[in-house]
């Protein structure tokens, strides 16, 4: 090599080294529920995620979306294909905790990152936490813990509690009981995807409860509220945002008015990132986003922020970049605890009549800088 060539090569190398950091590319596989009873949740996560990608204007993320139809075996198949044939760097998107339990452990064991926009089962937050697993939404118990604390504040002393029989349902009841001081009028597991709650409502009526707490996301909550309305029972309800989200309120009707529910996010949350998000989401999709959309949006921005700092192929650097969570979350302050689950405020909301539609309004704060209880069991 002549001197001239060598000089040119060194100059080129120097120039490259000095160039400003450009976002590295990553292939992201999204497995989410786009058909069947839970479709509304997955559609909102996907739409929020895609909106953030479009807004960023960067093409750092190549997104592949697949529908799991809320079936664990299908989710496992898709994950295997995405990891082995499509060579994704990051998986995300799963809504339901039973599907997350089936997919996440093997995904992170293969060195692929999993960043949850929703499901946060307790089993993955404590002893079985993983350095490659991040949850950008919440640990399952959190919102229900806030609901338990809120029930105390509202003076309820004999609450009837109910959730579907799957990991997130167990977490919901555990979370509620952790902070609730009163008596339990009764405790019930329903089936995941159950549509008729006549038998449960009869038992609530018979139990002498002074209030009800339930975790019934998506169509399950809509069905319950419709039947509750027809039952003649009129006990106050305290719940978490999953059972009174923007994805459900239009189908629930006025019966939901006044229901108290807890959430890490709300459409009326006052910060610049959230205002911009709500406006852009409405303009793009013509509806008000649900908390699932906000979580999808945050998940995408988290990934984008990390890609600006590090190459996804350099797992250690990329992990550090994720852990820094250097992005403007639509829920306001956001940081990761040692088990890669959020440290965040949890608000108390009320269902109100908004501008032509039912919506939620923040009426108080249940917890500030809340961390889940499993964090101490996590050793990475």
């Amino acid at each position: 090599m002549s001197f001239a060539k060598r000089a040119a090569a060194s100059i080129a190398a120097l120039t490259l080294a000095a160039a400003p950091a450009v976002a590295q590319e990553a292939r992201v596989g999204m497995i989410t529920t786009l058909s069947g009873g839970g479709a509304g949740l997955g559609v909102d996560v996907r739409d929020g995620f895609e909106l953030a990608l479009a807004q960023s204007g960067s093409d750092a993320v190549e997104l592949i979306v697949e529908d799991d139809a809320r079936r664990p075996e299908l989710a496992v198949q898709i994950a295997r294909r995405m990891i082995q044939s499509e060579r994704v760097d990051i998986l995300t998107g799963i809504i339901w905790s039973n599907l997350a339990m089936a997919v996440v452990p093997s995904t992170v064991a293969q060195g692929v990152f999993y960043i949850s926009p929703n499901a946060g089962p307790s089993a993955l937050a404590g002893e079985n936490c993983s350095e490659n697993y991040f949850n950008a939404a919440w640990q399952n118990d959190s919102l229900h813990e806030a609901a338990g604390a809120t029930a105390n504040e509202l003076g309820y002393e004999n609450t009837f509690i109910m959730a579907p029989n799957y990991p997130a349902g167990t977490d919901a009841l555990t979370g509620f009981k952790r902070h609730y001081d009163g008596e339990l009028a009764g405790e019930l597991f329903t089936q995941l995807g159950q549509t008729d709650y006549a038998a449960e409502i009869a038992q609530i009526r018979d139990s002498g409860a002074d209030s009800i707490f339930f975790f019934l996301p998506g169509g399950m909550g809509i069905s319950f509220m419709r039947q509750y309305e027809q039952s003649g029972l009129d006990l106050p309800i305290v719940s978490a945002a999953f059972s009174f989200g923007q994805d459900m309120l239009p189908a629930m009707g006025e019966n939901a008015l006044g229901v108290i529910n807890t959430s890490q996010w709300s459409p009326d949350l006052d910060n610049a990132a959230n205002e911009a998000f709500i406006e852009a989401f409405r303009a793009e999709y013509g509806r008000t986003p649900s908390l699932y959309a906000s979580q999808g949006y945050d998940t995408a921005n988290l990934i984008l922020s990390a890609l600006e700092q590090a190459d996804v192929d350099d797992a250690d650097a990329f992990r550090e970049a994720l852990r820094a969570a250097d992005f403007d979350s639509v829920r306001g302050d956001f940081a990761f605890a040692a088990n890669h689950h959020p440290i965040q405020d949890i608000y108390i909301r009320e269902v109100v009549q908004g501008d032509g539609e039912l919506t939620n309004r923040i009426i108080g704060t249940a917890f500030e800088d809340h961390v889940d209880v499993y964090v101490d069991e996590c050793r990475m």
Partner: protein, 305 residues
């Protein structure tokens, strides 16, 4: 546990059973007369609910919505029979299952494209809002009306099959298809009518139940599975069997979910009892089906004796 709770749960079981009967009746008629396994029956239930919700939303009347839902399901049934199902009668059951499964996917996706992925709102008519006192228990007026509609439909169906010319043809078709065709009955038209009748019943069930449940894509499949359990227990092809099977499944499922956790509560701690009870309760009707299959492989009331 009070008597009123027990009575309320029994009513819930009967109501659930009668709605299952509306689904199972169509399924068992189609199987009995045409020998066809129709997995897409649940999609007709969904179509009934969606059309009812949309029309009720436009016109502000649940009743017009109900009529529209029923008509739409019947029309969809007739179209599906003419376009797809007609080609399947001569094929074996595997082909039928494959083709009708494809119909589920197509119809679910079609409904999602037209109406969107989010559940629709369908309200209970004002006339049937609230509760009514039945002496020892206050019961939802709408659910009571569902029991009434279920019983009337069962009666109407029985009259249709036992007392009308169409009924004679349906029964004749169940016994010997070739013979009634040879006797000059237009068997193709009869098949379309029976299929549309079954579809209308499914659409009616969907619309009625849609008012107290969530009107959403895929709502038909869980009901379809139960309806199959019902006709296996009752005897495939038998309306009477469908009625008895539906009531058995409705009452056993409801009472099981309610009583089993309590029974286990007598010797386990509440959380564990709920866990075990809920798990076992969800198996109960399948255990019943297995027992019936062991003891009476052709069901409780087999159609062709």
């Amino acid at each position: 546990m009070s008597l009123s709770l027990l009575v309320e749960q029994l009513l819930n079981g009967v109501q659930f059973g009668l709605m299952l009967f509306l689904m199972a009746a169509g399924l068992t008629l189609v199987f009995g007369v045409m020998g066809l396994i129709n997995l897409a029956h649940g999609s007709l239930y969904m179509i009934g609910a969606f059309v009812c919700a949309v029309v009720a939303g436009w016109l502000g009347s649940f009743w017009l919505g109900l009529v529209a839902g029923l008509a739409a399901a019947a029309a969809a049934g007739a179209i599906i029979e003419v376009v797809v199902i007609r080609r399947l009668y001569a094929r074996d059951h595997l082909d039928q299952v494959l083709a009708t499964f494809a119909l589920i996917l197509i119809l679910s996706e079609g409904v999602r494209i037209i109406f969107g992925p989010f559940p629709l709102y369908l309200s209970v008519p004002d006339l049937l809002n609230g509760t009514v006192s039945l002496g020892i228990v206050d019961y939802s007026l709408y659910r009571l009306a569902l029991i009434g509609v279920g019983l009337l439909t069962a009666l109407g169906l029985w009259l249709l099959i036992a007392r009308t010319r169409l009924g004679i043809r349906i029964r004749a078709g169940e016994s010997d298809r070739e013979m009634i065709a040879a006797l000059g009955v237009n068997i193709r038209a009869l098949y379309t009518v029976v299929f549309a009748l079954g579809a209308a019943l499914a659409g009616m069930a969907g619309a009625l139940v849609g008012a107290i449940q969530s009107v959403q894509v895929g709502m038909g499949e869980p009901v379809l599975i139960l309806a199959f359990v019902v006709i296996v227990i009752g005897g495939i092809g038998s309306i009477k069997g469908a009625m008895v099977g539906a009531l058995l499944v409705g009452v056993i499922d409801t009472m099981g979910r309610f009583l089993l956790p309590r029974a286990f509560g007598l010797f386990l701690d509440p959380s564990q009892a709920m866990d075990v009870g809920a798990a076992l309760a969800s198996m109960l009707i399948y255990i019943l089906m297995a027992l019936v299959l062991i003891l009476r492989p052709r069901g409780l009331f087999p159609a062709n004796g």
